[in-house]
Amino acid sequence: MLKYKKILLVDDDSDDRQIFEELLHELDPDTVIDNAENGLEMVAILNNAADDDLPGLIILDQNMPRMTGKESLVFLKAQPRYKNIPTIVYSTYQVRDFYLECLELGAQDVVAKPDTMQAYREMIEQFLVTH
């Protein structure tokens, strides 16, 4: 059912990172999750990773200091090394224009951050299954 060995979660909100990790490991304790607090950290982590150790999926929060989700997305899609890694943007920022823009920039999906545990669980399942 799960197809990613490793997921990179880029989110400055530690609560969200914690919930994400807990719920992900409820579903599959074996998936490795890397965390970055913003886009710059993400770039550093990715650049230091060996080719065979790159994440299979990148989740980007939009609202982050120093380098936002959208900026991170632009960076990723411009790099041959990273542009084929499926990237999902999740955000409380529920604006249609933003949604369309991210899809245009090459995001796999753009979703709203859930507001219940159940919705959170379902969102992660969706990430892991359909993408």
Partner: protein
Amino acid sequence: MEVVDGGRNFHGFIRITEDDKWYEVTIVKMMDGFVATFTNITERKQAEEKLRSNYMELVSARETLRRLNAELEDKVAERTRALAVSEERFRLVSRVTNDALWDWDFVNNIVWWSDTFFHRFCHEIPGKPPDRKGWLLRIHPDDRAATEDSIYAAINSHQTQWSREYRFRREDGSYASILDRAYILHDPNGTPYRMLGSMLDISDLKKATEELARAKQVLEEKVAERTAQLQQLNEALETSNHELQQFASIASHDLQEPLRKIHMFANAIRERYDGQMPDDVRTHFNKIVRSTDRMRALIIDILNFSRLSAEVSFFKKTDLKVVFAEVVDDFELNIREKKAELTAGDLPEIDILPGQFRQVLHNLISNALKFSKPGVPPIIRLDAQCIRDKDFNSPADPYGDYYRFSLTDNGIGFEEKFADDVFKLFQRLHSKDRFEGTGIGLAITKKIIERHNGAIAVHSKEGKGTIFEWILPKKH
């Protein structure tokens, strides 16, 4: 016969017509006859005749002379009168006019000045009217030489006209602005012998012109200043408006984040410990969740409201029947619950911002359903009518440029005096415990209608129901 019979003598004149001669005839009786003497007096007669005719001529000549004299006298009287009138007129004119008139006799170098001259510029010294030199000395030193040069140049170059502006000293030492205009008269040989002129005091005119120019300048400065102020204000307003939108947008995001967490964690606890929770704790938890829900609805609405002004969207010809059907679909559950009856008359196709207009219908129908009377199935009807003017009282006109819409319900209504308040941001007529809502929906509705160049109004009666009326242009 008388001589013969009466014995008297005869003395008379006989004219012989054949030769036009006169004879004096004297006949004296003698004894037995008479003696007649004929004296030729033709010459005497002729002289007499001539004398008489001469005398007649003399008489008639004298008569003619007398008549001519009388006529002449009449004429003189008439001319004198005319002259008097003309003089009077001149005197009046020279008194009425502000021009100081002058008459310069070159031959004797004497200048005559009108009363105005003395009245306005210098007191008259009897017997000593100012001459040209006196006149020149009264001209402002800065203008004097140029004026003098100019007047003599005009005379010497046989000009017939001269005019000059200069400053002329008044008796009190102040200077008047003068426009002096004159005619130069020439004799048959072309020699200038006289100059007639008028000094027009243009001080007031000049002052008025200067004041006007100054006023104009002040006005222009003020306009420029106000324009700059307005521009600044406008820029400030734009900045502040933009900042406000950004603030609303960012604030609502940042507010949403912690709220989402509260909601989520509260829910997580409730899910996990639901069975073990005492009733009052569960109630408190429910209150937390409901409050966060309400807060979120508020934030989202504020976000939508602030976004409306910034959003760029395009007008599109849209079939309102379709929009109405879609909105009714949204409320399917609600309608079924309340057994509501939603109908619409014939709805047109008009130019709208589809997403936004959908929200208008959504908000209004949502309100109509929300504020229904308890236990009474809501009856809601939407109608549209083509009208001539953008006026709620406009007559119907199938070829008009506007549509008037009305959404009627049989809900709880409200007092008409609140009609304007309902469109205000955060304005609520009912407590939030009885009816949920943020108080933003109708403000958004109004804003959207106005973005469509339309207008919206509401009529209501407490306990009877509410009618929302709005007007939209057919085309954009």
